[in-house]
């Protein structure tokens, strides 16, 4: 009955809950993202991230984050929103 492990989007393990919570907040919580841009370590402490997870978020390397159980879509969007916040992009070219 059990399904084969999917290739791209996998069950986020419970051990990665806080890491995914942080990526989710970077994606969807404007206030958290602002605090993170001010002081990333303090923001991550708010969410109780462990040192290894915090280092992985700071480094921003996708493969490391995925290996720790991060969800690919959250990694992608957290990174996009951080980049947009750092250098605002022009939208609606046409």
């Amino acid at each position: 009955m059990s399904a084969a492990e999917p290739l791209h989007y996998r069950f986020p393990p419970a051990s990665a809950y806080r890491l995914n919570r942080c990526l989710f907040a970077l994606k969807s919580d404007d206030d958290f993202r602002a605090r993170f841009l001010q002081d990333a370590r303090a923001a991550m402490r708010e969410l109780g991230l462990g040192d290894d997870d915090a280092a992985a978020v700071l480094r921003g390397d996708r493969d490391t984050l995925l290996a720790r159980g991060a969800h690919p879509y959250l990694v992608f969007m957290a990174d996009l929103r951080l980049r947009m916040a750092r250098e605002p992009v022009t939208f609606e070219y046409f």
Binding site: L7, F11, S28, F76
Partner: protein, 261 residues
């Protein structure tokens, strides 16, 4: 009454229109959306029941429902400088959740959750004037384990029966797809041939074949969001698809479809 059934791409770049996109392609998808909007006006619909897959916006890992119904008074979402706010068709939403549960679907309901872009991107372009109330229907697509395509199809069959027994003129719209792989190294290489073959199947009214596809196949083909299409296919049965457009961008197979009821 079920008066119409549509599928709409929801690629956020269609709305944001950044410099990375092919302008002519985007405008062709906009033209297809405009056609949907005119059809919704011609169909004199009373409500749009929109089936979409949340992009981890309304629901995080604190609560990952397989299937959910939004039964609040209104729902809202924000995208850049856009502020969306849609009234909910409450009697319809409530009938769907009550009768759905009675029919053995283990629906989650919510009276308050942020609205994901999968809902408001298609509505941005297709909402008729005057605007209609909506019923947001969630299908888990991004957080495994997701409901099987077969179960989505069955839910759509029940949803179709519930809607057909209502006095309101209801349009069903599914949002999503086609092939795309956000967050993976496949992002720039979707499975366009898979999409085209599926669209051929739908043109021939063989939509129920999607119910037999496995979740693993959808994941492999970048088409986890076709679960929302499976719901609408369950409701329309063997109706034939009129493909308004299929526009493969560098990251998405953008399709707009109407089913001839």
């Amino acid at each position: 009454m079920l008066v119409g059934a549509f599928a709409c791409a929801h690629t956020p770049q269609l709305l944001a229109r950044p410099g990375t996109e092919d302008r002519d392609l985007v405008l062709r998808v906009h033209a297809a959306f405009a056609r949907v909007k005119r059809r919704l006006e011609a169909l004199r619909a009373d409500a749009i029941a929109i089936v979409a897959g949340d992009h981890v916006e309304a629901f995080f890992l604190d609560s990952v429902p397989a299937l959910a119904v939004y039964v609040g008074a209104e729902c809202a979402g924000t995208f850049g400088h856009y502020r969306y706010r849609f009234p909910i068709h409450e009697p319809l939403a409530r009938a769907i959740v009550e009768q759905g549960v009675e029919r053995g679907f283990d629906l989650c309901y919510t009276q308050s959750a942020p609205l994901d872009y999968a809902f408001y991107v298609p509505l941005h372009f297709t909402m008729p004037e005057p605007a209609l109330p909506i019923v947001p229907l969630h299908v888990n697509v991004y957080l495994p384990p997701q409901p099987t395509p077969r179960r989505c199809f069955e839910w759509g069959a029940a949803l179709g029966a519930i809607v057909r027994a209502r006095s309101e003129r209801v349009v069903l719209m599914c949002s999503g797809g086609m092939s795309h792989f956000p967050g993976t190294d496949r992002y720039a290489s979707p499975e366009f041939e898979y999409d085209r073959r599926l669209l051929d199947t739908l043109r021939e009214g063989r939509g129920r074949e999607l119910a037999a596809v496995t979740g693993e196949e959808l994941d492999k083909m970048g088409n986890i969001e076709l679960r929302t299409w499976a719901v609408v296919l369950g409701a329309v049965g063997d109706a034939k698809a009129d493909v308004y457009c299929y526009e493969p961008s560098w990251h998405h197979g953008n399709a707009v479809v109407e089913w001839a009821l």
